[in-house]
Each structure stands twice: as C-alpha cells, then as structure tokens.
C-alpha cells in the first residue's frame, strides 16, 4: 500500500474512532449543492481548507463550481482559475475572477486573497493544472494557506484532479463520468446526484471548535 493511501486509511480509522462534534450552523457556509453540503456536514467550514478531488476530465467539477457561484449571489466570491479555463454563464456581479497561467501563480494569488479577508469564499481551481505543476508546489504552501485561512476566518475550497493538500480539514472525491445525454439535462439535477466519497476528514477535539 503506498504511503498516501496508508495516511488516508489511518485518517479514516481516526475519524471513526473520534467522531466529529456538532458545530453551530454559523460555522458553515452552504454551497447550495445538496449532496456536497450533506457530505460536508452542512457546508464548507469557515476558517478551514476543504478539498474536492475530481479525477475524471468530465467529472462535474465545473458544474459544481457554477452551482456554488450561483448560490453565493449575495456574497463576495473569488475564483482563482489555475489554468484560465472558467466559462462564465450567467451574470455574476460579485465574483472576482483571477485568470492564472499556472499553479504557482494561483497559489500566490490565493495567499494574497485570503489574507485580504474580504471574501466569504475563495475557490482555488487547479483542476486543469497538470500533476507536474502541482507537484512543484511545496507542501509548506498548503500549510501556510491553512494557517492564514484559520487566522482570517476565510473559507478556501480547493478543486483538483489529484489529492494534493494534507492541510485541508476534509477531502471529498467525486467519481462522476458525465455522458453525452447529460448535456441536455437540467444541471441542478446532475449536480445533486453527483456520487461523492470521503477521502478523509480530520478529527477535531470539541475544545478546538469552541476556540474557533
């Protein structure tokens, strides 16, 4: 078993043995995607990094992205587009779109935006970035981002094709393979039925919640 899988297994065991405490509703930021919110236990946690892994090229990550952005109608959302691949569909007056050319640029931009503290949600979309690029990002970068997020009480959602960040409090995987017939379906129906799996969820002591 590769080391990464061992860590995931270990985290799963820990999650089962030390189940998560109940957090107040204000701690969560609803994504508007029923399945995702359910898996996240109410939404994205403020002051934490969450990661969603979508391995398949047509796995529904853009669908998820658009749904989240549309839900956050009255909140300021920043989308850090790691490969300049976002296609705006509807009018999104409170979305700040940052078109990056590579993952390094994107993580630097994320650092600046999270420190700013003005955005309810920051989405770092690295789905289209190659594994080689992602491997170049030092692990310390993710820990630094986690620290900043904790400090500013911001919310960072990381979208990737591969599991990369050990600093996220939760990692979910979407194992969807969209098909041609989905192109003529109502998008919310597809997104609500996305098959979401846990990669891992960190356990937290109640005291840590209290201080959060």
């Amino acid at each position: 078993m590769p080391p990464a899988d061992k860590i995931i297994q270990l985290r799963k065991i820990l999650a089962e043995r030390f189940p998560q405490g109940t957090l107040p509703t204000s701690t969560f930021l609803s994504t508007g995607v029923t399945g995702l919110d359910h898996s996240l236990g109410g939404g994205l946690r403020r002051g934490a990094v969450a990661q969603v892994v979508v391995p398949h090229p047509s796995g529904g990550s853009a669908l998820l992205l658009h749904d989240i952005i549309q839900t956050m109608q009255h909140r300021f959302v920043a989308l850090i587009d790691g490969k300049n691949s976002f296609e705006p569909l509807a009018e999104t007056p409170f979305l700040l779109w940052l078109r990056c050319q590579n993952a390094t640029q994107a993580t630097r931009a994320a650092d600046l935006l999270i420190r700013d503290g003005n955005f309810a949600l920051t989405i770092l979309d690295l789905k289209q970035n190659s594994p080689r690029e992602l491997r170049k990002i030092p692990a310390t970068t993710w820990y630094r981002l986690q620290r900043v997020v904790e400090e500013t009480r911001a919310t960072l959602l990381l979208l990737t094709r591969y599991y990369i960040s050990g600093s996220s409090y939760i990692a979910l995987q979407i194992n969807e393979h969209l098909q041609m017939r989905d192109l003529s379906q109502i998008s919310s129906v597809i997104s609500d039925s996305l098959p979401i799996e846990f990669l891992y969820r960190k356990t937290f002591v109640e005291a840590e919640y209290a201080s959060a």
């Binding site: 508007g32 979508v54 398949h56 090229p57 047509s58 796995g59 529904g60 990550s61 853009a62 669908l63 992205l65 658009h66 549309q70 839900t71 109608q73 009255h74 909140r75 300021f76 300049n84 691949s85 976002f86 296609e87 705006p88 569909l89 509807a90 009018e91 999104t92 007056p93 409170f94 979305l95 700040l96 779109w97 940052l98 078109r99 990056c100 640029q105 630097r108 931009a109 600046l112 935006l113 420190r115 700013d116 503290g117 003005n118 789905k127 289209q128 393979h177 969209l178 098909q179 041609m180 989905d182 192109l183 003529s184 379906q185 109502i186 998008s187 919310s188 597809i190």
Partner: protein, 521 residues
C-alpha cells in the same frame, strides 16, 4: 414662567501661538526630533460619536524661548519662562541672549500658522457650528444649543485634540465673548465664569488692551484692575472719557454687546513641513506621514467628512517636486487604511535627490449612503481590498483580474473582465437560482489544435498533443457566424464529442483547422 436662558460662549486661547507654531516647525524639521518623537507615548481613541485624544509630547516647556521678527533682530513673542527671565517683547536678540544663555530663538513659520489656524477652526466646528476666527490661535464658539451645565468635558476634549497638534491652550467660558476670552486668558486650562466673577474683577486693566491714552489716564486715577474700573459710575466715565471709556467699562463689567463675526472652517486640509535636514531614508518620512494622517483624520472627522484623496508632495533638494494624488477607493478617515495606501506608494518612490520638504493634503468627500438589505453585506475593508487588487494586478496583470461580463454577441468565448466596484446599486437583488440546462464547459485558452478524421462528415478519430482517441458519440455540427460585415468576421462549426475514455469535449472547425475549445466538466 419660562426658564431664563443664559447664552454661553467659549474661547479657546493659544498663548504665544506664533512661537508654538515656530517650535512645531522646528520639531518636525529636525530628523533627530523625529527620531525622538518615536518615543512619544501616543494613544488615540476615536469613535464616530465621541473622540478623545491624549498625547504626551515632551516639549521643552521649561526652557526660555522667543520668536524673532522677519529680520531676525528683535524679539516679538516670548514664552512665560523667557518672560520670567526678564526678556521683554521688542528687545534685540543680543540683549535677550545676554539675559539668559539658554534662550531658544525661533524664526516665525507663517505658512504653518495659517494651516494650524485652519486646523483649530475645524476642531472647534465639532463642538459648535457658530464660530469666530477671533485672532491667531484664538477661536470663539457660540454655545447656543449646547445643553447642560457641565461644559468642562468637551472643553478638555478639545484641548486634548489641540494638544495632539502640539499646542498648549486654555479654554474659557462665559456669558459673552469678552468675558469668555478674559476667562480663557487666566484659565488653567479650563475656566467657566459669570460676568460678576471676582476672578475677572481682579484682572489687570492691561488685559482689555485699552489705548495708551486711556490707559495712562486710568492709571493716573489709580485704577489698576477691572474691578476698580467697574466700581466707578458708568455715566461719569462716559462724561469724562467718551465712547471709548464707556466701551471699556462695559467690557470690564462683562456687559460687552459685541456679536460674533461668524465664519465657517476652511475646506482645506493641509499638513506641511520644510525639513532643515534632508531625508535619505523612508523611516522618518513614514513617521511624519503617520503623524500628519492622524491630524488630518482628526480635522476631517471634526467637520463630519471623509478623505477621498490624498495629495502627497515631496520637495527635493534639487528643486524638483514630486506630486502624487492617491485615490482612496472607499473614502475613509481611518488612519491605518490611509497609511497603508500612502506608505505603499512611498515604498515605490525613487527620488533623484534627498527630500527636504513634505506636504500632505487631504481632499474631503461626504460620507456615502448605502442601505443593505437583510442578505447583503459590503466588503469588510474596501481599501484593503483595492490594495490587494493592486498586488494581484502586479502578480497576474491588470487584464487578468475582474468581474466577468459577457459581451453582447454570439461569438464563442466573448467575455471581458471589468474592474470590480462591488456596488450593490443597480444589481438585481431578487435574483434567484436560475434553471440551467446542460453541463458547463472548461475552455482551453488557447484552443488545442487537433487532427480529426471524419467519416460521412462526422468526426470519428481525434489526434492531438494532449487529447487523442476514438470518438464514441458525436453530436453536431452547430454552425455559428457573425460580423461578416467587418474584419472581426467569425464562422465556426462545433461538435460535442465523447471519446472512448468517457471525456466530453467541444470540437470546433474554424478558419480551416480543427481545435478542441474545451472539455465538458
């Protein structure tokens, strides 16, 4: 029976004002003074409703000081220590120095006097809109409408604010401007008196500045104090000394009928300094910047305005001037936000010569009105956001950041980014989640060129650098074209294809070549 309403007036009096201005100029002008000021104990508490400022400045008040005239030969103003040492106004410099070797001599700072007088009026405006610009360093306030007997708290607050500008002053309150001014002159630092106050009666006659002729007559009569004068019958004074005598008697008795020459505080907010030693590093300049911003912020707050723009002027040793206007995205008077913006600019400035002068002007604006609904919220810190935006622009480029806006065309991928304003006005607040059909596309920018094999005009095989495979399902073509009448002509046919690995792509044929424009994800 209606209660008798007593009008009150307040006078803030800055003794030896011109000398204090000159001292201020010296304090700012010397780099060593600036460094010493770093040790100042400064605490400012500012709120929308109430502002209290306390600042302890180690000014050398115990040293004799005197102000020189324009020629630099005679003394025109002295502080109490110098006066106690026997230095009189009008004596020559050499004579004054002969009296005490510790005497500090200052040249007058006319421009600073003017700016600080404006600052005084602006600070006073916070407490009363009815002001008189009485004299240099003196401002009279009509306190009509200010209820309550306790006037001391706001007077002390005003004094503390004026102290933060480096000035020691006194406040007197009385039933008319004359009495208030007399009270201010003897206040320590606050005094509220009535017209019949014994304290006023004991004041010397000189305090009313009578004409020399009248003063001599009264002295010859043995009149030394205001009380002695008012004990004489008014009519008799009028018969012997005329209108001038009557006016003096009225003033001494606190019955002066003078009305205020009302003025509005000036709308200019400038802090300036001419440095005696050139500045070559940023640190002292940043210290001056912060201090000036604190003062400007206080002045702006006093007139209920916000700072919309900062004009920063650096005078260089070679005569050149660098002027920069810094727009404040969200007008504010928060010192930290303003300091961040100005210091960020100063960090990037490269000068051809050392700095010998620094001026900061705040351009005010009215507070904006923004009413959010239940679900709306503004940016927590708009100024910080626009700073972050500038940093992001430096990292990614200006054209790579913004709010996406679709262009009014059917041409694929027609989107532009506009500068964020995050203004709620004009947005449809009742917008609900729209029903969307299909799966969004992730675009490849630029599109990926591919070789496509067709069968009966349908793609069956794709071969490219990153995407290769057999086409399992293909839908299309969808033909679009436009702008055939100008150079931006476009004509494309698009296919949705599903490859054998299950990935869904949008394939396009335009200008004679096949490209993958994006992946459905």
């Amino acid at each position: 029976m209606p209660a008798h309403k007593t009008r009150l007036f307040a006078v803030i009096y800055t003794p030896y004002y011109r000398l204090q201005c000159a001292r201020q100029k010296r304090l700012h002008a010397l780099p060593e003074a600036v460094t010493a000021c770093n040790q100042l104990e400064l605490s400012i508490e500012n709120s929308m409703v109430e502002s209290s400022v306390s600042l302890s400045v180690k000014v050398e008040e115990d040293k004799p000081a005197a102000l020189l005239d324009a020629e630099g030969t005679r003394i025109i103003e002295v502080n109490p220590v110098a006066a106690a040492a026997g230095i009189e106004i009008g004596v020559t410099t050499s004579l004054a120095l002969a009296r005490t070797s510790e005497l500090q001599l200052f040249a007058s700072a006319t421009e600073l006097e003017h700016h600080q007088q404006s600052a005084l009026l602006q600070l006073c405006y916070r407490y009363s809109p009815y002001l008189e610009n009485t004299a240099a360093g003196v401002c009279t306030l009509d306190l009509q409408g200010r209820k309550g007997d306790n006037q001391e708290w706001w007077a002390r607050e005003l004094l503390a604010q004026w102290r933060s500008f480096g000035f020691i002053a006194q406040v007197g309150i009385g039933p008319n401007p004359e009495v208030a001014w007399q009270a201010a002159k003897i206040a320590n630092p606050f005094l509220q008196v009535t017209a019949a106050s014994s304290l006023l009666q004991s004041l010397p006659l000189e305090s009313l500045n009578p004409s020399p002729y009248l003063f001599d007559i009264l002295r010859n009569w043995g009149i030394r104090t205001l009380g002695a004068l008012t004990r004489l019958p008014r009519e008799e004074i009028g018969q012997r000394l005329g209108l001038e005598g009557l006016s003096l008697w009225d003033r001494a008795a606190g019955k002066s009928k003078n009305v205020l020459k009302q003025t509005q505080p000036p709308e200019t907010f400038i802090e300036t300094v001419d440095l005696e030693h050139r500045l070559e590093t940023l640190e002292p300049l940043l210290f001056l910047l912060r201090r000036f911003l604190e003062r400007l912020s206080l002045r702006i707050a006093a007139v209920y305005r916000l700072i919309a723009e900062i004009r920063l002027t650096l005078a260089l040793e070679d005569g050149e001037k660098i002027v920069r206007n810094l727009q404040i995205p969200a007008p504010t008077r928060e010192v930290e936000a303003l300091f961040r913006i100005a210091s960020q600019y100063l960090d990037t400035v490269q000068t051809s010569a050392p700095i010998v002068g620094f001026e900061l002007e705040a351009i005010p604006s009215n507070p904006g009105q923004n009413q959010f609904d239940l679900f709306q919220s503004g940016l927590k810190d708009p100024n910080r956001f626009f700073q972050t935006l500038a940093r992001l622009a430096a990292l990614l480029g200006n054209e790579q950041i913004g709010i996406p806006e679709k262009l009014n065309t059917h041409k694929p991928d027609s989107v532009r980014l506009r500068m964020p304003t995050f203004d709620w006005s004009g947005t449809d607040q009742a917008k609900h989640k729209q029903l969307r059909i299909g799966v969004p596309l992730r675009r490849y920018r630029p599109a990926l060129p591919v070789e496509v094999q067709l069968n009966k005009e349908k793609p069956i095989w794709i071969c490219g650098q990153t995407v290769t495979g057999q086409v399992r399902v293909a839908r299309g073509p969808w033909r679009t074209s436009g702008n055939w009448w100008n150079a931006d002509r476009w004509d494309t046919q698009e296919w949705d294809v599903e490859l054998e690995d299950g990935a869904l792509y949008r394939l396009a044929f335009n200008t004679g070549r096949w490209v993958i424009v994006g992946v459905y994800d």
